[in-house]
């Protein structure tokens, strides 16, 4: 009984720590980064003023601090705004939709291994074998938030946004799931922690070579050597894996409603898209939900292709987790994971401020004519290569 309680307590601490200490601040600062990076791409400066308001306490000058306090000001602004519910909406679903947009992204985080271990505890909230399936199942629930918002708003622009979101999801979910099947064929498991362990031994799935010495451990699982470090098959295998990375990343852009696939909210066509009728904190939940989905998407990409928390040249296993160095190493692994996620988020932002929006039929064509076929053929290519690796 105490063991169950202890397990529940530890899981709770991990969940709350992950969400409140890492993900929510990361969401706010992704918004800040988006504003600063977009500004600099457009030769502007972005928010660089909000800092420590010393003038409020009677001092002469504020400290600008690169505008890093901007997210706090934004949150205060959104909380203080009038929360307006129009008369013509379906109240129940109207109130439900923002929660539906935010919650799934948080839930999907449960299976992501965001660190090796800390004090002997594996840094993953739920180490379950369905792993990636859970991520796909839950993150596609996020579309319900958008559809419900579009439908319950009882207004034409949100409705169009909701419809677009539905069809966009149908076109992209397939290639999203199909594109990563090669990974599961290679690793032989759906468990994300196992996939990461495979990558610590055999190299990140995105890299074509893996030099001996980067990993301090012999290149084998269960004493059976599967891939040599410089084996030609690793380079051959890299080609379909790279294709699968490209397809998966682009599908992730569509999944998270980011430009160039942000059709559900297309400001230029649909006013505000699905959140036209929303204000104040309900709008903020949609907004934060989009960024949380981005973070989860990046986390999945990092886990599947970039070796999650693995840092080259650093030991992967922590021998004695209770010593000082064991804890430090665990923290370095967590930091490495989120640095990789942050870099991918920068890519998301960079792409958003470069590419124009795809037309609706172009998006459908891309999804149905190209990505599903590419992903399927990719699966077969890997299936052909794999038997030669397991001689």
């Amino acid at each position: 009984m105490t063991q169950v309680l202890l397990f529940a307590l530890i899981s709770l601490i991990k969940t709350l720590g992950l969400i409140f200490l890492i993900i929510l601040p990361m969401v706010s600062y992704t918004v800040y980064a988006e504003r600063r990076v977009s500004a600099m791409i457009q030769d502007r400066l972005g928010p660089n003023r909000v800092g420590i308001p010393l003038t409020l306490f009677g001092l002469q000058k504020d400290i600008p601090f690169f505008g890093l306090v901007q997210p706090v000001a934004d949150a205060v602004k959104l909380l203080l705004k009038e929360d307006f519910t129009p008369n013509h909406v379906n109240k129940f679903y109207y109130w439900l939709a923002p929660a539906c947009a935010m919650a799934p992204s948080m839930m999907a985080l449960a299976v992501i291994p965001f660190g090796s271990q800390l004090w002997g505890e594996p840094m993953v909230v739920a180490n379950v074998n369905i792993g990636v399936l859970w991520v796909f199942a839950v993150s596609s629930l996020g579309v319900y938030g958008i559809v419900l918002a579009g439908w319950s708003s009882n207004s034409k622009y949100p409705f169009l946004g909701g419809i677009r979101s539905t069809s966009q999801m149908i076109s992209y979910e397939l290639s999203l799931a199909l594109s990563v099947i090669p990974i599961f064929m290679i690793c032989g498991t759906l468990n994300l922690s196992e996939i990461v362990r495979y990558q610590t031994v055999h190299g990140w799935l995105i890299s074509p070579i893996w030099i001996k010495g980067i990993s301090l451990f012999p290149l084998s699982i269960n004493g059976q050597e599967i891939i040599h470090s410089f084996h030609i098959l690793k380079i051959i295998l890299w080609i379909p894996l790279f294709i699968s990375f490209i397809v998966f990343t682009i599908s992730m852009f569509a999944e998270t409603n980011r430009l160039p696939f942000d059709l559900p909210e297309a400001e230029t066509e649909l006013v505000g898209g699905y959140h036209t009728e929303y204000s104040s904190m309900k709008f903020a939940l949609f907004f934060l939900g989009e960024y949380a989905a981005m973070i989860v998407g990046s986390a999945v990409i990092v886990t599947l292709f970039f070796g999650a928390w693995h840092v080259p040249f650093l030991p992967t296993a922590i021998d004695d987790p209770y010593t000082f160095w064991g804890v430090i190493l665990g923290l370095i692994h967590i930091a490495a994971f989120f640095v990789k996620v942050a870099l991918l988020l920068l890519l998301f932002i960079w792409v958003r401020w470069t590419l124009p929006r795809f037309r609706y039929d172009q998006l459908m064509r891309l999804g149905w004519y190209f990505f599903i076929e590419i992903a399927l053929v990719n699966v077969f290519i890997v299936a052909v290569i794999l038997p030669f690796m397991r001689e």
């Binding site: 030769d43 502007r44 400066l45 960079w350 470069t354």
Partner: protein
């Protein structure tokens, strides 16, 4: 006459999107790095950096009254500026110069001269119409106040902003 515009034939690399996408990413990255490293500077951070030194000679800022080189007020309260002012920002209460005064020839002076800076549109017609060259648009542009009353410039404030402007004005010349 209707005519057909032939669609451009796209090459394979154009159809494949990727070359164009990477070219675009390169352009945005270049802009990002140039601004980040400070190699290119576009924004002037206003309250800290100002453009005041580079204001052109013809810049139209706040309208002010000026004195001449003898410290005499130039305005003769002819009220032409009051009449021409499109938003009616100027109010003048003319007074009479007493008969024993040296400048009785001029007859009038402004007892009170007010410019409502909330109304003023900085068009410069007052300066243009003034026969005595008594009103000039100076280069002050940040006219602020906490109350409406504060935003009405009275005679004292106008002379304070205007200062001295030298130059011949015939009206004040005894010989003319």
């Amino acid at each position: 006459m209707p005519y057909t515009v032939s669609r451009p034939k796209l090459t394979f690399s154009e159809k494949a999107y990727f070359p164009a996408i990477f070219a675009g990413l390169g352009i945005t990255l270049r802009h990002f790095i140039n601004i980040l490293s400070g190699k290119k500077k576009v924004t002037m951070q206003y309250p800290e950096e100002k453009w005041d030194q580079n204001l052109p000679a013809h810049y139209r800022g706040a309208p002010t009254l000026v004195r001449d080189e003898h410290g005499r007020e130039r305005c003769v309260a002819c009220q032409l500026c009051e009449f021409i002012c499109p938003p009616r920002a100027i109010t003048i209460h003319p007074g009479e110069i007493p008969i024993e005064d040296r400048w009785r020839k001029v007859e009038k002076f402004p007892q009170e001269f007010q410019i409502d800076m909330i109304r003023c549109i900085y068009c410069g017609l007052c300066e243009e119409v003034c026969p005595e060259q008594a009103i000039f648009l100076r280069k002050d542009y940040a006219i602020t106040g906490l109350t409406r009353q504060e935003m009405v410039h009275d005679k004292k404030k106008l002379y304070e902003l205007g200062g001295v402007m030298t130059g011949l004005v015939h009206k004040w010349n005894d010989k003319k």
